[in-house]
Amino acid sequence: MKTSIKYLVAIFAIAFTFVSCSNDDETTVNELDGITKIKEITNDTHTIELYSQMGSLEQGYNEISLRIKDNTTDKYIKNAEVSWAPLMHMTSMSHSCPYSAVEKVTENGTLYSGYIMFQMAQNETEYWDLKIDYTIDEVTYTITEVIDVPASAKRKVNTFMGSDGTKYLVALIEPNTPKVAINNMQVGVWKMQNMMTFPVVDGYTVKIDPRMPSMGNHTSPNNVHATQATTGGLYDGKLSLTMTGYWKINLQLANAEGTVLKGEEITETVTASSIFFEIEF
């Protein structure tokens, strides 16, 4: 009985979706599902709309989508080549952060997307801006705008010097909505080549040890350390959370040879690692 009700609901839902699709103009509605506008940036010719899941940016890993609207025709541009460059203006210097290329989401769509990992938050005197360069029909345009990057409530980024003398950045990507379950875990690992270049690190392992400091440092079983499936990609692992509450995900970064470059193993006496993420739900 219960399942048949579920089926009924599902059929209605599908029917409703089709109806609503056919009433709107083709692509736009579906493209923006699950994302919210952060802000609009305007220059003489175009307006760029920035989107993310939360409708805002924060310190850490951010998946960002954008659309480019022609100010005269009000049409969205489908054939642009887009790149971006975030820049932190500190009092004494400027630097960038890890970020990806910007790519079309679907061939016929209007959305372009990529990620930016802000390793630090803005403060009263220091701020991020985002420069977007785009080419439409071999004409190049540019736009730069200050963006809001407040600090995250929980620790999602670690920036540290490894024992090999390299500066690394490790950020938490998934789980975004943690559950009492085995969660898919995704982590990004980058290194600082210079102030402006932060390439993905390949072939390392991010060892994880989730703990609950409020529960006598309880840990969960069947976690899988995060490793890279494809060169240049992000790192995937499995994170078990046995209950809701505050979890500290203790980390160790190991290179391809298995040498730990940063982070400590949790023991009776060492209750936390020097690099960690925080999850609370």
Partner: protein, 661 residues
């Protein structure tokens, strides 16, 4: 196999605490205990208003695991709740506590009951699949008598824990209609172990209300509705880290009874029932808890049975079609010391729905006037379904491939032979039975067991536990002597028990580790008892009973909660309206114990009890007064069934009054 044969040839016995019924069909491995205040024979009890647990304790087949002064967990043949079936008039009820703080027996009161039928092993499979046996608690048997109005007032006091008992019953019966109502209230403070040692957190308070009413629709048809409401509050469990602020049950049923005018069918009884239990653990009164937690649990059961019995030529038959649907949920919320942190929440029972449907058939074939052969079979369909996605995903941390639903078939067969002639009786039988894992064994999530200090994780992949059983008994009876020796041997395949898994960390702060419910290849249990009574004269009677159980796992290490040599002997003096009894009770030192399961060596003990009763009869009323002293010499002792060696009650003087008008 050799062992099986040996025990097949060893013998056993039978002794009824209550009436001796002479008809052949009752010569079974069943023990009928008079309990409560509703049985016609209750007046002969030494302590009329004893708790149900104290009544059950008298059986040689039953012992009780004690975590405090209240809600003891019955074990039959050394086997606890998972391996037994405990019913109230055939109704299935499941406790709502993950830590077994509320066995079914804790939700009834002696004022509701008339007797308890204890069946060993597969003899007890009538109301469900079992390994160890069953207890069926029977309510009042009084029906359409022309008794008119009856009023009872019960009252009692116990000095040791200042337990106050007050209750009353109002009954009415005529030839068409009857109604029985009763209420009982108990309020006890902490008890004191021997040498005046107060056991903190051993208080309890319990209110029980019940009503049963029947109406005769026609001379051979009647209908009966019954309700029990039981509410215990402020119950201490001194052997556990938590207490109970509320344990509440509502137990309801509607029964239709039909006696066809047929040669073959004697009676056809059909019952619909529903019961709901709410259980709330509480640690707010405990000092120094590492973390405060709430652990509520709920258990709802909907069920029915339809039981028909009759005879055909030399066969007495019984058929029982029964089904139940149970929902068990338990959760845990822990409060971090930092109030800004989110609460820590988990399902410890992930909303497990159990659907069971079974059919039981029994044929008792009368070979001749002094021997008979009984066959029973029970086939059950059992399905578990985890209804909470949250709970399912939690368990999938341990079992990623686990599915929400799991079905099993449970089979049981047994055969027994009985012989009874000229005071000599003997019987033997064998049986095979299966059971499904309990909710905790299949789906428990970090259940802390304070006995061995491990957190337990259920295992949804467990196979059915299977038991091959042989039993035998032999007895002798004449005008003065009555003796019986009986033994049962169980060879249990895929025996379910927690085994440590060092690769998983515990959840409970300061726990010793994790145990995952696992099936041992096999385990064996031998249970044996000997009872004797001798009528010295018209007024004097001597009784004795002796029990010894032995349980081993597949590596010949002991199983927990097996009775060491246990004895009880009493001398009774009952001239007319006066009755008295002097009782000696004790255990030998527990030599078969296993630290692996949290046990340690329990030393021997002996206690002495005495009770006296007098029945006053007036013109239209009567009053029964019972008084006695338990543990006269104030021994400080503990038994193998006492959780974490909790000391038992020291000297206690009780007085029970029962006034009927």
């Amino acid at each position: 196999m050799k062992k099986l044969v040996v025990f097949f040839l060893s013998f056993s016995f039978y002794f009824s605490f209550s009436q001796e019924v002479d008809s052949l069909k009752t010569k079974e491995l069943k023990e009928v205990l008079v309990v409560g205040t509703k049985a016609p024979l209750h007046e002969k009890q030494g302590k009329t208003l004893a708790t149900l647990d104290e009544f059950l304790q008298k059986s040689t087949k039953v012992d009780l695991i004690k975590r405090g002064a209240y809600a003891w967990e019955p074990i039959i043949n050394g086997m606890a709740s998972e391996r037994t079936v405990i019913t109230i008039d055939g109704m299935r009820i499941f406790g709502a506590c993950t830590d077994k703080m509320d066995p079914v027996t804790s939700y009834v009161e002696v004022s509701n009951l008339s007797e308890a039928t204890i069946s060993s092993g597969q003899q007890g499979s009538c109301h469900g699949n079992t390994i160890g046996g069953s207890i069926d608690l029977k309510r009042s048997q009084r029906q359409f008598t022309n008794a008119g109005w009856e009023f009872y007032v019960n009252s009692g006091y116990e000095t040791n824990n200042r337990q106050k008992i007050i209750g009353s019953a109002i009954n009415y019966a005529d030839s068409l209609f009857y109604v029985d109502t009763d209420v009982m209230y108990r309020d006890a403070e902490n008890y004191k172990a021997g040498n005046d040692k107060e056991i903190h957190f051993s208080q309890f308070r319990k209110l029980n209300l019940s009503a049963t009413s029947g109406y005769r629709l026609s001379p051979n048809k009647n209908i009966e509705a019954s309700v029990i409401f039981d509410r215990a509050t402020d119950v201490g469990y001194p052997a556990l880290p938590m207490d109970v602020s509320l344990a509440e049950a509502l137990i309801t049923s509607l029964k239709y009874n039909y006696k066809p005018n047929s040669e073959q069918i004697d009676n056809w009884e059909t019952k619909l029932y529903f019961n709901t239990i709410t259980h709330t653990m509480d640690d707010t009164k405990r000092p120094d808890v590492p973390i405060h937690m709430d652990m509520p649990g709920w258990s709802d059961t909907y069920g029915f049975y339809s039981k028909i019995n009759g005879k055909y030529k030399k066969h007495q038959f019984l058929g029982n079609l029964n089904s139940f649907y149970n929902r068990s949920v338990a959760e845990m919320t822990m409060y971090p010391s930092d109030p800004n942190e989110n609460l820590m929440f988990m399902y410890t029972w992930p909303d497990v729905r159990t659907l069971y449907t079974g059919i039981y058939l029994e044929d008792n074939f009368e070979i001749n006037c002094h021997s008979n052969l009984k066959f029973t079979t029970n086939l059950g369909f059992h399905n578990n379904n985890v209804a909470s996605d949250f709970g399912l995903q939690s368990l999938q941390i341990f079992y990623p491939e686990m599915e929400a639903s799991k079905s099993r078939f449970l089979k049981s067969v047994s055969t027994n032979y009985f012989y009874n002639k000229d005071g000599i009786s003997y019987g033997f039988g064998m049986g095979y039975g299966e059971r499904a894992p309990s909710v905790s064994e299949g789906y428990g999530f970090y259940l802390f067991n304070s006995f061995d200090g491990f957190d337990y994780i259920g295992n949804p992949n467990l196979k059915n536990e299977k038991s091959l059983e042989v039993n035998a008994n032999i007895g002798f009876k004449n005008a003065k002597w009555q003796t019986k020796i009986s033994a049962s041997y169980f060879h249990i395949y895929d025996y379910i028990i927690g085994i440590p898994d060092a690769s998983v960390a515990p959840m409970t702060i300061a726990a010793n580790g994790i145990k995952v419910y696992t099936a041992l290849d096999y385990a064996t249990i031998l249970s044996s008892d000997f009872t004797v009574s001798y009528q010295l004269s018209d007024f004097w009677i001597w009784k004795g009973q002796f029990v010894y159980n032995l349980g081993n796992d597949n590596e010949s290490n002991g199983l927990p909660f097996m009775s060491p040599f246990n004895y009880m002997t009493s001398l009774g003096f009952r001239p007319g309206k006066f009755s008295s009894e002097l009782q000696l009770k004790g255990n030998a030192t527990q030599t078969e114990y296993n630290p692996f399961y949290g046990e340690d060596k329990t030393p021997d003990y002996t206690i002495v009890n005495a009770n006296f009763g007098y029945k006053f009869t007036f013109e239209k009323s009567k009053m029964i007064v019972n008084t006695g002293i338990e543990n006269i010499f104030d021994a400080n002792y503990t038994t193998y069934t006492d959780w974490n060696n909790l000391p038992r009650m020291g000297r206690n003087i009780f007085i029970n009054l029962m006034y009927q008008f």
